[in-house]
Symmetry: C2
Subunit: 191 residues, 2 copies
Amino acid sequence: MNLLLENIAKHVSLTTEEQERVLALTEVQHYKAKTILLKEGEICTHSFFVTKGILRSYNIDENGVEHVVSFACPGWWIADMYSFLSQRPGQLYIEVNEEAEVLLMSKENQDKLYIDVPKMERFFRILIENSLVAHQQRLIDNLSFTAEARYDKFLKKFKDLAHCIPQKQIASYIGVTPEFFSKMKARLLKK
Amino acid sequence: MNLLLENIAKHVSLTTEEQERVLALTEVQHYKAKTILLKEGEICTHSFFVTKGILRSYNIDENGVEHVVSFACPGWWIADMYSFLSQRPGQLYIEVNEEAEVLLMSKENQDKLYIDVPKMERFFRILIENSLVAHQQRLIDNLSFTAEARYDKFLKKFKDLAHCIPQKQIASYIGVTPEFFSKMKARLLKK
Protein backbone atom coordinates (compact mmCIF):
# COMPACT_ATOMS: atom_id res chain seq x y z
CA MET A 1 0.00 0.00 0.00
CA ASN A 2 1.07 3.54 -0.67
CA LEU A 3 2.98 4.95 2.35
CA LEU A 4 0.88 8.13 2.41
CA LEU A 5 -2.40 6.19 2.47
CA GLU A 6 -0.98 3.94 5.23
CA ASN A 7 -0.09 7.07 7.15
CA ILE A 8 -3.60 8.52 6.71
CA ALA A 9 -5.25 5.18 7.64
CA LYS A 10 -3.65 5.44 11.11
CA HIS A 11 -5.93 8.40 11.84
CA VAL A 12 -8.95 8.45 9.52
CA SER A 13 -10.68 5.81 7.42
CA LEU A 14 -11.08 6.73 3.74
CA THR A 15 -13.19 5.09 1.03
CA THR A 16 -11.44 3.98 -2.18
CA GLU A 17 -12.79 7.08 -3.98
CA GLU A 18 -11.48 9.35 -1.23
CA GLN A 19 -8.06 7.64 -1.39
CA GLU A 20 -7.98 8.21 -5.14
CA ARG A 21 -8.85 11.89 -4.62
CA VAL A 22 -5.97 12.25 -2.15
CA LEU A 23 -3.49 10.69 -4.57
CA ALA A 24 -4.85 12.77 -7.48
CA LEU A 25 -4.00 15.91 -5.50
CA THR A 26 -0.39 14.86 -4.82
CA GLU A 27 2.54 14.64 -7.19
CA VAL A 28 5.49 12.19 -7.00
CA GLN A 29 8.99 13.58 -7.50
CA HIS A 30 12.44 11.99 -7.38
CA TYR A 31 15.37 14.10 -6.23
CA LYS A 32 19.14 13.61 -6.12
CA ALA A 33 21.08 14.27 -2.91
CA LYS A 34 21.80 17.98 -2.28
CA THR A 35 18.83 19.19 -4.35
CA ILE A 36 17.51 22.34 -2.69
CA LEU A 37 13.70 22.31 -2.67
CA LEU A 38 13.21 25.62 -0.86
CA LYS A 39 15.41 28.64 -0.11
CA GLU A 40 15.13 31.39 2.49
CA GLY A 41 12.98 34.22 1.10
CA GLU A 42 10.97 31.94 -1.16
CA ILE A 43 7.34 30.95 -0.60
CA CYS A 44 6.86 27.35 0.51
CA THR A 45 4.13 26.41 -1.99
CA HIS A 46 4.15 22.67 -1.19
CA SER A 47 4.50 20.40 1.79
CA PHE A 48 6.70 17.35 1.25
CA PHE A 49 5.86 13.80 2.34
CA VAL A 50 8.97 11.63 2.20
CA THR A 51 8.53 8.08 0.85
CA LYS A 52 12.26 7.31 0.36
CA GLY A 53 15.45 9.05 1.49
CA ILE A 54 15.93 11.90 3.96
CA LEU A 55 15.18 15.64 3.72
CA ARG A 56 16.22 18.33 6.15
CA SER A 57 15.16 21.89 6.91
CA TYR A 58 17.57 24.52 8.21
CA ASN A 59 18.21 28.18 8.36
CA ILE A 60 21.44 30.10 7.94
CA ASP A 61 22.29 32.80 10.47
CA GLU A 62 23.95 36.16 9.71
CA ASN A 63 27.39 34.56 10.19
CA GLY A 64 26.63 31.95 7.53
CA VAL A 65 26.24 29.13 10.06
CA GLU A 66 23.62 26.47 9.25
CA HIS A 67 21.14 25.45 11.99
CA VAL A 68 19.19 22.25 11.35
CA VAL A 69 15.53 22.62 12.37
CA SER A 70 14.41 19.10 11.42
CA PHE A 71 15.08 15.95 9.45
CA ALA A 72 12.30 14.08 7.63
CA CYS A 73 12.57 10.32 7.09
CA PRO A 74 10.14 8.09 5.13
CA GLY A 75 6.61 8.57 6.47
CA TRP A 76 7.27 12.16 7.68
CA TRP A 77 6.12 15.51 6.33
CA ILE A 78 8.35 18.56 6.11
CA ALA A 79 7.67 22.22 5.24
CA ASP A 80 8.38 25.78 6.35
CA MET A 81 5.08 25.90 8.23
CA TYR A 82 5.00 29.70 8.57
CA SER A 83 5.52 30.18 4.85
CA PHE A 84 3.28 27.28 3.78
CA LEU A 85 0.33 28.42 5.90
CA SER A 86 0.66 32.15 5.23
CA GLN A 87 1.98 31.81 1.65
CA ARG A 88 4.55 34.51 2.48
CA PRO A 89 8.36 34.28 2.09
CA GLY A 90 9.91 32.02 4.73
CA GLN A 91 13.22 31.68 6.57
CA LEU A 92 13.98 28.02 5.97
CA TYR A 93 15.88 26.00 3.42
CA ILE A 94 14.69 22.48 2.61
CA GLU A 95 17.33 20.21 1.10
CA VAL A 96 17.57 16.58 0.04
CA ASN A 97 20.08 14.77 2.29
CA GLU A 98 19.86 11.37 0.59
CA GLU A 99 18.42 10.59 -2.85
CA ALA A 100 14.70 10.83 -2.19
CA GLU A 101 11.22 10.06 -3.43
CA VAL A 102 8.76 12.65 -2.25
CA LEU A 103 5.02 13.28 -2.54
CA LEU A 104 4.27 16.97 -2.97
CA MET A 105 1.02 18.56 -1.95
CA SER A 106 0.43 22.20 -2.85
CA LYS A 107 -1.31 24.55 -0.42
CA GLU A 108 -4.02 24.98 -3.05
CA ASN A 109 -4.61 21.22 -3.31
CA GLN A 110 -4.59 20.81 0.45
CA ASP A 111 -7.33 23.43 0.72
CA LYS A 112 -9.24 21.63 -2.07
CA LEU A 113 -8.87 18.38 -0.16
CA TYR A 114 -10.57 19.84 2.94
CA ILE A 115 -13.62 20.51 0.75
CA ASP A 116 -13.58 17.30 -1.31
CA VAL A 117 -12.72 14.96 1.59
CA PRO A 118 -13.73 16.68 4.86
CA LYS A 119 -12.22 13.81 6.92
CA MET A 120 -8.82 15.09 5.81
CA GLU A 121 -9.37 18.17 7.97
CA ARG A 122 -9.24 15.80 10.96
CA PHE A 123 -6.14 14.07 9.54
CA PHE A 124 -4.23 17.30 9.09
CA ARG A 125 -5.35 18.58 12.50
CA ILE A 126 -3.90 15.45 14.14
CA LEU A 127 -0.74 15.74 12.03
CA ILE A 128 -0.26 19.35 13.04
CA GLU A 129 -0.99 18.50 16.69
CA ASN A 130 1.77 15.87 16.57
CA SER A 131 4.13 18.31 14.93
CA LEU A 132 3.32 20.92 17.59
CA VAL A 133 4.06 18.39 20.33
CA ALA A 134 7.40 17.54 18.67
CA HIS A 135 8.27 21.25 18.42
CA GLN A 136 7.29 21.91 22.05
CA GLN A 137 9.44 18.95 23.09
CA ARG A 138 12.40 20.16 21.02
CA LEU A 139 12.07 23.62 22.59
CA ILE A 140 12.06 22.13 26.10
CA ASP A 141 15.07 19.96 25.18
CA ASN A 142 17.01 22.96 23.86
CA LEU A 143 16.16 25.07 26.89
CA SER A 144 16.83 22.56 29.60
CA PHE A 145 18.68 19.44 28.49
CA THR A 146 22.44 19.01 28.17
CA ALA A 147 23.98 18.39 24.73
CA GLU A 148 24.56 14.74 25.72
CA ALA A 149 20.89 14.24 26.60
CA ARG A 150 19.85 15.94 23.34
CA TYR A 151 22.16 13.61 21.38
CA ASP A 152 20.63 10.63 23.16
CA LYS A 153 17.13 11.82 22.21
CA PHE A 154 18.27 12.35 18.61
CA LEU A 155 19.51 8.73 18.41
CA LYS A 156 16.23 7.41 19.82
CA LYS A 157 14.11 9.55 17.49
CA PHE A 158 15.96 8.74 14.26
CA LYS A 159 17.03 5.17 15.19
CA ASP A 160 18.33 3.28 12.14
CA LEU A 161 18.58 6.42 10.04
CA ALA A 162 20.85 8.28 12.46
CA HIS A 163 23.94 6.71 10.86
CA CYS A 164 22.95 8.17 7.46
CA ILE A 165 23.11 11.73 8.78
CA PRO A 166 26.47 13.56 8.61
CA GLN A 167 28.09 14.34 11.98
CA LYS A 168 28.15 18.08 11.42
CA GLN A 169 24.37 18.09 10.74
CA ILE A 170 23.74 16.14 13.94
CA ALA A 171 25.89 18.67 15.82
CA SER A 172 23.86 21.49 14.26
CA TYR A 173 20.55 19.77 15.13
CA ILE A 174 21.49 19.37 18.79
CA GLY A 175 22.81 22.94 18.83
CA VAL A 176 26.57 22.53 19.36
CA THR A 177 29.63 23.21 17.18
CA PRO A 178 31.14 20.27 15.25
CA GLU A 179 34.29 20.59 17.45
CA PHE A 180 32.29 20.35 20.69
CA PHE A 181 30.34 17.43 19.22
CA SER A 182 33.55 15.46 18.38
CA LYS A 183 34.89 15.97 21.90
CA MET A 184 31.54 14.99 23.41
CA LYS A 185 31.39 11.78 21.36
CA ALA A 186 34.97 10.89 22.35
CA ARG A 187 34.01 11.42 26.00
CA LEU A 188 30.89 9.22 25.60
CA LEU A 189 32.96 6.41 24.01
CA LYS A 190 35.29 6.35 27.03
CA LYS A 191 32.36 5.86 29.43
CA MET B 1 -18.66 40.32 23.47
CA ASN B 2 -16.98 37.42 25.20
CA LEU B 3 -13.24 37.37 24.33
CA LEU B 4 -13.33 33.68 23.44
CA LEU B 5 -16.22 34.14 20.99
CA GLU B 6 -14.42 37.16 19.49
CA ASN B 7 -11.37 34.98 19.08
CA ILE B 8 -13.38 32.22 17.40
CA ALA B 9 -15.19 34.70 15.13
CA LYS B 10 -11.83 35.66 13.56
CA HIS B 11 -11.68 32.19 12.00
CA VAL B 12 -15.15 30.59 11.83
CA SER B 13 -18.67 31.97 11.90
CA LEU B 14 -20.92 30.42 14.57
CA THR B 15 -24.69 30.66 15.01
CA THR B 16 -26.04 31.84 18.39
CA GLU B 17 -26.83 28.23 19.35
CA GLU B 18 -23.31 27.14 18.46
CA GLN B 19 -21.84 30.00 20.50
CA GLU B 20 -23.95 28.93 23.47
CA ARG B 21 -22.73 25.35 23.09
CA VAL B 22 -19.09 26.53 23.13
CA LEU B 23 -19.65 28.54 26.30
CA ALA B 24 -21.57 25.69 27.95
CA LEU B 25 -18.49 23.49 27.47
CA THR B 26 -16.09 25.96 29.11
CA GLU B 27 -15.77 26.97 32.74
CA VAL B 28 -14.68 30.38 34.10
CA GLN B 29 -12.15 30.45 36.92
CA HIS B 30 -10.41 33.27 38.80
CA TYR B 31 -6.90 32.71 40.12
CA LYS B 32 -4.56 34.66 42.36
CA ALA B 33 -0.97 35.32 41.29
CA LYS B 34 1.39 32.36 41.83
CA THR B 35 -1.41 29.76 41.68
CA ILE B 36 0.04 26.66 40.05
CA LEU B 37 -2.48 25.16 37.60
CA LEU B 38 -0.33 22.25 36.44
CA LYS B 39 2.80 20.52 37.73
CA GLU B 40 5.37 18.30 36.02
CA GLY B 41 4.21 14.67 36.13
CA GLU B 42 0.51 15.61 36.18
CA ILE B 43 -1.91 15.14 33.28
CA CYS B 44 -2.96 18.38 31.61
CA THR B 45 -6.72 17.76 31.61
CA HIS B 46 -7.68 21.28 30.44
CA SER B 47 -6.44 23.93 28.08
CA PHE B 48 -6.56 27.48 29.42
CA PHE B 49 -7.85 30.52 27.54
CA VAL B 50 -6.74 33.71 29.30
CA THR B 51 -9.31 36.52 29.49
CA LYS B 52 -7.47 38.63 32.13
CA GLY B 53 -3.95 38.49 33.59
CA ILE B 54 -0.93 36.48 32.46
CA LEU B 55 -0.10 32.78 32.71
CA ARG B 56 3.23 31.12 31.96
CA SER B 57 4.44 27.61 31.24
CA TYR B 58 7.90 26.40 32.19
CA ASN B 59 9.87 23.35 33.04
CA ILE B 60 12.50 22.83 35.72
CA ASP B 61 15.76 21.11 34.77
CA GLU B 62 17.69 18.64 36.90
CA ASN B 63 19.63 21.50 38.50
CA GLY B 64 16.41 23.17 39.63
CA VAL B 65 16.63 25.95 37.03
CA GLU B 66 13.32 27.19 35.56
CA HIS B 67 13.03 27.54 31.77
CA VAL B 68 10.06 29.57 30.52
CA VAL B 69 8.43 27.94 27.48
CA SER B 70 5.70 30.52 26.94
CA PHE B 71 3.64 33.35 28.38
CA ALA B 72 -0.11 33.64 27.70
CA CYS B 73 -1.77 37.05 27.71
CA PRO B 74 -5.51 37.80 27.30
CA GLY B 75 -6.79 36.18 24.11
CA TRP B 76 -4.16 33.39 24.17
CA TRP B 77 -4.43 29.69 24.95
CA ILE B 78 -1.89 27.78 27.00
CA ALA B 79 -1.45 24.06 27.78
CA ASP B 80 1.15 21.30 27.93
CA MET B 81 0.23 20.16 24.43
CA TYR B 82 1.91 16.76 24.70
CA SER B 83 0.07 15.95 27.91
CA PHE B 84 -3.24 17.53 26.84
CA LEU B 85 -3.40 15.65 23.53
CA SER B 86 -2.11 12.30 24.81
CA GLN B 87 -3.66 12.57 28.31
CA ARG B 88 -0.37 11.28 29.73
CA PRO B 89 1.79 12.94 32.43
CA GLY B 90 3.61 16.01 31.08
CA GLN B 91 6.82 17.92 31.74
CA LEU B 92 5.48 21.44 32.13
CA TYR B 93 4.32 23.64 34.97
CA ILE B 94 1.61 26.23 34.28
CA GLU B 95 1.49 29.09 36.76
CA VAL B 96 -0.48 32.31 37.17
CA ASN B 97 1.88 35.28 36.80
CA GLU B 98 -0.68 38.02 37.44
CA GLU B 99 -4.14 37.62 38.99
CA ALA B 100 -6.09 36.03 36.15
CA GLU B 101 -9.48 35.14 34.74
CA VAL B 102 -9.30 32.00 32.67
CA LEU B 103 -11.72 29.90 30.60
CA LEU B 104 -11.00 26.20 31.02
CA MET B 105 -11.87 23.62 28.40
CA SER B 106 -11.38 19.96 29.25
CA LYS B 107 -10.04 17.52 26.67
CA GLU B 108 -13.33 15.64 26.97
CA ASN B 109 -15.39 18.77 26.24
CA GLN B 110 -13.13 19.73 23.36
CA ASP B 111 -13.72 16.31 21.79
CA LYS B 112 -17.48 16.76 22.39
CA LEU B 113 -17.32 20.14 20.71
CA TYR B 114 -15.89 18.62 17.51
CA ILE B 115 -19.01 16.47 17.30
CA ASP B 116 -21.59 19.06 18.39
CA VAL B 117 -20.09 21.96 16.41
CA PRO B 118 -17.99 20.52 13.55
CA LYS B 119 -16.83 24.03 12.53
CA MET B 120 -14.79 24.06 15.73
CA GLU B 121 -12.55 21.39 14.23
CA ARG B 122 -11.50 24.04 11.70
CA PHE B 123 -11.04 26.62 14.47
CA PHE B 124 -8.78 24.38 16.53
CA ARG B 125 -6.85 23.31 13.43
CA ILE B 126 -6.08 26.97 12.65
CA LEU B 127 -5.22 27.63 16.29
CA ILE B 128 -2.82 24.71 16.38
CA GLU B 129 -1.32 25.76 13.04
CA ASN B 130 -0.64 29.21 14.48
CA SER B 131 0.85 27.69 17.60
CA LEU B 132 3.05 25.42 15.48
CA VAL B 133 4.29 28.42 13.49
CA ALA B 134 5.09 30.26 16.75
CA HIS B 135 6.98 27.22 18.07
CA GLN B 136 8.90 26.77 14.80
CA GLN B 137 9.81 30.48 14.94
CA ARG B 138 10.92 30.25 18.58
CA LEU B 139 13.09 27.23 17.70
CA ILE B 140 14.73 29.12 14.81
CA ASP B 141 15.26 32.13 17.10
CA ASN B 142 16.89 29.97 19.79
CA LEU B 143 19.10 28.19 17.29
CA SER B 144 20.27 31.15 15.27
CA PHE B 145 19.54 34.54 16.82
CA THR B 146 21.63 36.39 19.40
CA ALA B 147 20.20 37.02 22.88
CA GLU B 148 19.76 40.71 21.95
CA ALA B 149 17.70 39.82 18.87
CA ARG B 150 15.62 37.38 20.94
CA TYR B 151 14.97 40.10 23.53
CA ASP B 152 13.91 42.46 20.76
CA LYS B 153 11.47 39.83 19.43
CA PHE B 154 10.14 39.26 22.95
CA LEU B 155 9.39 42.99 23.33
CA LYS B 156 7.58 43.10 19.98
CA LYS B 157 5.55 39.97 20.72
CA PHE B 158 4.39 40.93 24.20
CA LYS B 159 4.27 44.73 23.63
CA ASP B 160 2.43 46.51 26.48
CA LEU B 161 2.50 43.44 28.70
CA ALA B 162 6.28 43.03 28.62
CA HIS B 163 6.69 45.44 31.57
CA CYS B 164 4.43 43.19 33.71
CA ILE B 165 6.81 40.25 33.35
CA PRO B 166 9.64 39.90 35.92
CA GLN B 167 13.16 40.37 34.52
CA LYS B 168 14.33 36.92 35.55
CA GLN B 169 11.42 35.30 33.68
CA ILE B 170 12.27 37.31 30.56
CA ALA B 171 15.89 36.15 30.90
CA SER B 172 14.68 32.56 31.19
CA TYR B 173 12.36 32.93 28.16
CA ILE B 174 15.16 34.24 25.94
CA GLY B 175 17.47 31.54 27.30
CA VAL B 176 20.14 33.49 29.23
CA THR B 177 21.05 33.76 32.92
CA PRO B 178 19.65 36.72 34.91
CA GLU B 179 23.24 38.02 35.28
CA PHE B 180 23.88 37.93 31.54
CA PHE B 181 20.49 39.57 30.96
CA SER B 182 21.28 42.49 33.35
CA LYS B 183 24.62 43.12 31.62
CA MET B 184 22.98 42.91 28.20
CA LYS B 185 20.29 45.43 29.16
CA ALA B 186 22.93 47.81 30.58
CA ARG B 187 24.83 47.50 27.28
CA LEU B 188 21.65 48.20 25.27
CA LEU B 189 20.88 51.32 27.34
CA LYS B 190 24.32 52.75 26.55
CA LYS B 191 23.74 52.38 22.79
